[in-house]
Structures are given as C-alpha cells and as structure tokens.
C-alpha cells in the first residue's frame, strides 16, 4: 500500500465508525486527513521511508475506533442541532399551509379545527393528541437548540441533545400522521367542503416534512448508543 492509501484507509475506518450523513462529518474528516498528511511529512523528514512514515503517522493518531469515539459526541451535538433546526424551520411552514387550507375550505379554525365540524365522534381525542404531539415537538426542538449552543459547549458534552432531537422528530412525524388521519376522515365524511389546491399544497409540505423528520429522528437515535 502506498502512504496515501494507508492514510485514506485510516480516514475511511474512522468515518465508517461514525453515524450520520457524510456532509456533517465530511469537514471533520477532511481536517483529520490533512493532519495525517502533516504527520506523514513530519515522519518522512525524520528520515523514515514512505511505508514506515505512513505507519508511524497512523499509529501516532491513535486507533481508528478510539478516535471515532472521541469525534462522536461532537458529531452528535451537530447532528441534533441540525435536526432541531430543520424541525423549527419546517414546522411553521407546514402549520401555515394547513391553516390556509382550513381557511380556504371555509372551515372555521377558531371555533373548531378544520376537520372537527364534520368529523366523527372521538376526533376530539385525536385533536388533543395532535396538540400534545405538537407541544412535545416544539419543546424537544427548543431544548436541543438550547443545549447545543455556545454556553453548553463550554460545559462538556451531553446526551440530552440527540435524545431531545430524536423525540422531537418522532412527535413531528406523529403530528403529520394525525393530520392525515383527520384529513382522511374529512374526505370520507364531507369531501365537498375541501379546497383542493391549498389542501394539496399543505399535504405535500406535510409529507416532505414527515420524511425529513423521520430521517432526522433515526439519525439522532443512531448517535445515542
């Protein structure tokens, strides 16, 4: 193996032991690689032949699995923050689109939620579930953003962030699923009252958010262990 190949293999091993999308860890891995090339240079200058210099550089950096473990908490925090920001940004958009859909469908959102008027009995409990899920989503995202900020970084690491972000992601998924359930019951009961275009737009946004939230939640959960 050439010296460059030895170093690439090392970086690949560290990367493979880290969860999350390559974009998030990519920059950190590029820095690790650049450091290894510096180490390789230093050992070459000490007079070692290429193979020996590459071996010395990777030995100096530490066992790939051990090094991956030291990157993990930092990666977890960044991943959790990204997840929470995704939810915080997409949440109001999805909510607004559903509100527009409700108004356009001439269903009062003040006295009753859009689907409540014609919805079968028992939907009040569903709406309650919706509101609780919504509240947990917001709280989870806010907690995540708070504990991944600057001040928190000065006080060590915590597992709170990925856990709160994962919870927030799962409840966001719940919110979307509940809305679709209510929409389905509305469609079955009184489909005529719905404004097709705003409802379709809101549904499309909701589906997109559902997929994003689900992926975010899985990633944050993966980094927990």
């Amino acid at each position: 193996m050439t010296a460059g190949r030895v170093i690439d293999t090392y970086v690949e091993e560290v990367t493979a032991a880290l969860p999350g999308p390559p974009r998030v860890r990519g920059d950190m891995m590029a820095e690790l690689r650049s450091g290894l090339l510096d180490a390789l240079d230093a050992h070459r200058q000490d007079g070692l032949p290429d193979d020996a210099a590459a071996a010395a550089a990777t030995a100096e950096f530490g066992e790939p699995r051990v090094i991956a473990a030291t990157f993990r908490p930092e990666l977890a925090v960044r991943l959790a923050r990204r997840c929470a920001l995704t939810l915080v940004i997409t949440g109001p958009v999805v909510g607004l689109l559903w509100a527009v859909a409700a108004v356009a469908s001439h269903i009062g959102i003040r006295r009753a939620l859009p689907w409540e008027a014609a919805a079968p009995a028992g939907s009040t409990a569903v709406v309650r579930l919706l509101l609780i899920a919504l509240l947990v989503t917001i709280l989870g995202a806010v907690v995540t953003i708070a504990v991944t900020g600057r001040l928190a970084a000065r006080h060590g690491r915590s597992q709170v962030a990925p856990a709160a972000a994962a919870l927030s992601g799962y409840t966001a998924v719940t919110v979307d699923v509940v809305i679709f359930t209510l929409l389905a019951s509305q469609l079955a009961g009184a489909p005529g009252g719905l404004a097709p275009v705003p409802v379709a737009a809101a549904a499309a946004a909701s589906v997109t958010r559902l997929v994003l939230a689900w992926r975010a939640a899985l990633r944050c959960r993966a980094v927990l262990t």
Binding site: M28, E60, I67, F71, E74
Partner: protein
C-alpha cells in the same frame, strides 16, 4: 501522563498554545509535546474533536486555509477565548498552589 490526568486541563492548554498566533491541529499537538518535554502525549487524532468543541463554544475561530499547496484548518483565539484562558490560568494557580502545599508540606517546627 495519562489522558485522565490531563482531562479538564486540555482545553486550557489548547487555548494557551494559540495565544501567540493562529495554528493548525498537528502543529498544536507538536507544541503540546515539545512544550511539556513529551509529558503531554495524547493520540494526535483526539485534538481535532477538542478543537471543534472549543470552536462551537466560541472560544476559537476556525477556518480552512490554503498555504503551500496543502489545505489546513487554522484556529485562532477569539476575545472570549482569551478571557477563558485568563480565567483558566487564575484557577490553575490557586489549584496547583493548594495541591503542592498539601502533597509537599514544608517540614513544620515541633510545637509541643
């Protein structure tokens, strides 16, 4: 010196190593080794997550830099980083004086 012994002081040492000017991960680790006469000898790879955490804390500013055909991530102290370093020094002086006094007591005159 083992990693556990250094734990809690690594942040301060990293900040101190950047006091004279910006530097990159590998050079910082070499400074720690040389400056401690080899006593501080951590696996080099561990320095990178530590630098990222200090950057997130706003104590360091990091940016990619291209010099001599090699891309390196350069770190420099922020004003908050300088403050944190001064605070760390103060705490360390008090702590080390106390530990020295307790571990290496001056022989006391016999009073009774």
């Amino acid at each position: 010196m083992r990693a556990e012994t250094l734990k809690g002081h690594l942040d301060g040492m990293l900040l101190a190593s950047l006091e004279t000017g910006p530097s990159h991960g590998y050079a910082i680790m070499e400074m720690l080794r040389a400056g401690s006469d080899g006593q501080v000898d951590l696996p080099t790879g561990t320095i990178y997550p530590a630098l990222r955490r200090l950057e997130r804390a706003g104590l360091l500013a990091g940016a990619w830099d291209e010099a001599g055909g090699r891309r390196r991530r350069l770190y420099s102290l922020t004003p908050a980083g300088r403050q944190a370093l001064a605070a760390e020094r103060g705490t360390w002086r008090i702590f080390s004086a106390a530990v020295t006094a307790l571990l290496e007591p001056e022989p006391r005159p016999v009073t009774s």
